[in-house]
Chain length 439, copies 2
């Protein structure tokens, strides 16, 4: 066995998640020692604002003030520190500090999906060159072992698809609209009050955070570099409560899904509100919970389900990364698992199909004047584009305009878009047609 | 990096699961190489009956006959083999071969829950003495990473409970009775036809296989030796279709659950048919699927869901173990993770409470003569034992005997057993009362 019997941790950023890491490391120190067989020691904490951490009591005692600094570089430069845990977030300071720490031979644990999505390839290249580990379980799916499952459990599986509910804020808002019939604005306000949503909720509600996470999963699942730009992204801010209620009547719930699927030699990669039938387990994932469905050639379908965010669930994922790396150090292991799941030389660019190239089932809602022949005109255009209708529902007349709701069989998005454009141009159609994809 | 660039595997037993391992190793060899960066080579296959494996074609080619032998000791003694994969099953030959392989310094991968449940502590002790790895992900929950999740992902969590559906045969039978209204005998016969149930289904339907798996999970979750004997076990063979239907009417499904819960300084460990409300995800786990709910102090509740058995899902779990060990060998790592999740010196015997000591909610069904005062007598006895009734349902009169169904609030099993004994002794009660625990 190795001569090292203590692993020293430096923490950068001590907001909600960082505080969770401090608490878990200290409160469960004996448990962690019982399992790892060595001390995992919190050596330094850096944050611009140290007031909250000074107020934190663990087992009745305050944190030793000598551990704290406002100068992150002090932590990164400490020669005794083995692992740097970055919970600052964002793409500027966090990036510089991580690169600086790698340069100094520190192993890295981060929960920063935005950073990995934008600069992950560069950071991973540097980590590989310097021979350090970089772990990021907490960046996707909170406490769930999504990354470990793809990198380790499914190592012998060709993965067909990953489909997930990966943003707790959106899922909370959608659950509130569905179950409590709140408006989007009221549900968002409540999510903000509960601390689930940021003051500026754009990253969450516009699907960007979900796409950041998907870009990481695609790389791991399919053996490609981290690729964000070609992901098709549609958020939940434009969803109407009416469509959510109509979906319910048809036996579906609407969730913001991240979807990456093998499609021949290419992949589909998309984030959008999706209708899911009640019998699918994903439709029952409510509130701030996350879930991930993975299909592989040997395992068939597998689902992971748990808290996708929050102080302690996220801290738990970070601790699993810390311990993984600590075990590598203690057992004298180097480069045990490739950071991006595949060996470097096996990672290849894979074509991401444009949204027009996918096939899906669809939900349409048209708003049209209540005149004879409207349905005839709409269905004529759909037929022209080979779009077969599975069911039609025309709501009773509330006003001069009537909603016509349709569910289709599988159709080509390209055809659907052209058909909807033509339908929108009809004189009798009074609003932009609504389209929601169905899984 | 290590000088080794090829890991050699010896396979003992080539039935359904063994054949899956052969297929996955050969069919997905390029993928595995792309991810591990070294060749995982199937060096030898031992089975008494080599006919099926001689008929197996991978990518149009038969397996090289030189790999095959009918003498398992030949495989165990091969100095070139690094990892022995045991898929023989049972507790006799498999045990001797595993111990012999450990003696020779081979690492072990096994799916044998019966063996681990009975002799795991001895085998693990030998493996620790000899400094070899022993991996057994496929022994519990098929393709799901249950063991990896407890040993690695939840390393910083005090685990409160593990609750799972861990036997695909029982779950298939219960789903058939619930959804297709088959009798137990017909559902079992169908499970046997489908290859889900053995000719002798005792281990499965009497809950013993589930308890074998629970004994392994308890050790991992709570830091105790593998302990089978004090687990309370009740199978599904005595369940009546009537109770399954009545449960449905009350908004519950009946599943065979494995439950291990912290209860003060002791634990509860039990396997029995359990009523689960519809809104609980476990109630929607149908057919031969498995699911596992784990609660920890940091993660809250987490669920894993997937195929718990079958050729390829089980082979996938075995391959993840093979690759974990291969990565240890390739990266020069020794004793990276303790086999039973906790360091040896931290593993302590934990008291398993007798079933009488638990508290639960209950479903009762009494059969009584249709005479005045029956309900009064029964409810009087329940009141005497402090058992509060949440709801009562008395079925319309089909015959002279009427069924009375009750759901209770939380009560003590000890009280429940005494009350039911007194109720059974009433003159008006004509059949043994039925008790099903509710989660």
């Amino acid at each position: 066995m190795s001569a090292i019997n203590q692993i020293n941790i430096g923490l950068l950023g001590c907001g909600t998640v960082g505080t969770g890491v401090v608490r878990l490391l200290l409160e469960n120190a004996k448990l962690i020692h019982d399992r790892v067989g060595a001390l995992i020691c919190l050596k330094k904490i850096a944050d611009i604002n140290l007031v909250p951490i000074k107020k934190l009591f663990i087992d009745g005692k305050p944190i030793n003030a000598e551990l704290m600094t406002q100068h992150a570089e002090e932590v990164v430069s400490d020669p005794d520190i083995h692992i740097i845990v970055e919970t600052i977030g964002g793409e500027t300071v966090a990036k510089d500090l991580i690169l600086s720490a790698i340069e100094k031979g520190k192993h890295i644990v981060t929960a920063n999906k935005a950073l990995l999505s934008s600069h992950g390839n560069t950071i991973i290249e540097k980590a590989n060159q310097r021979g350090v580990d970089l772990a990021y379980e907490a960046s996707v799916g909170g406490c769930m072992p999504i990354i470990k499952t793809i990198r380790e459990t499914l190592v012998s599986n060709h993965i067909h698809y990953v489909i997930g509910i990966l943003n707790g804020t959106c899922n909370y808002i959608l659950s509130k609209i569905t179950n409590d019939h709140l408006s989007f604005q009221d549900a968002l306000a409540e999510a903000q009050q509960m601390g689930y949503a940021e003051a500026d909720p754009t990253l969450d509600v516009e699907g960007i955070d979900t796409a950041h996470k998907l870009s990481i999963l695609m790389a791991l699942a399919f053996g490609m570099p981290i690729t964000f730009d070609p992901i098709y992204i549609e958020g939940i801010s434009k969803l109407s409560a009416l469509d959510i209620q109509l979906a319910e009547q048809f036996g579906y719930r609407i969730k913001l899904l991240a979807i990456a699927k093998k499609n021949g030699n290419a992949i589909e990669a998309r984030v959008h509100p999706t209708m899911i039938p009640f019998h699918n387990l994903l439709s029952n994932v409510n509130g701030s919970l996350n879930a991930m469905m993975i299909s592989g050639d040997a395992v068939g379908e597998m689902i992971l389900y748990g808290y996708g965010a929050g102080m302690m669930p996220t801290a738990s994922a970070i601790l699993s990364d810390i311990v993984d790396i600590a075990r590598n150090i203690l057992s004298g292991s180097k480069g045990r698992i490739p950071i991006l799941s595949y060996q470097n030389q096996a990672i290849k660019t894979i074509n991401v199909l444009p949204i027009e190239a996918i096939e899906s089932k669809y939900y349409f809602r048209f708003t049209a004047s209540d005149k004879p022949g409207v349905l005839h005109q709409i269905s004529g255009i759909l037929a022209k584009y080979q779009i077969s209708i599975e069911s039609v529902h025309q709501k009773g007349k509330d006003s001069d305009d009537v909603p016509i709701v349709m569910m289709t069989y599988k159709a080509k998005e390209k055809d659907v878009r052209q058909a909807l454009k033509e339908i929108q141009d009809l004189n009798v159609v009074t609003e932009t047609p609504i389209l929601i994809r169905v899984e």
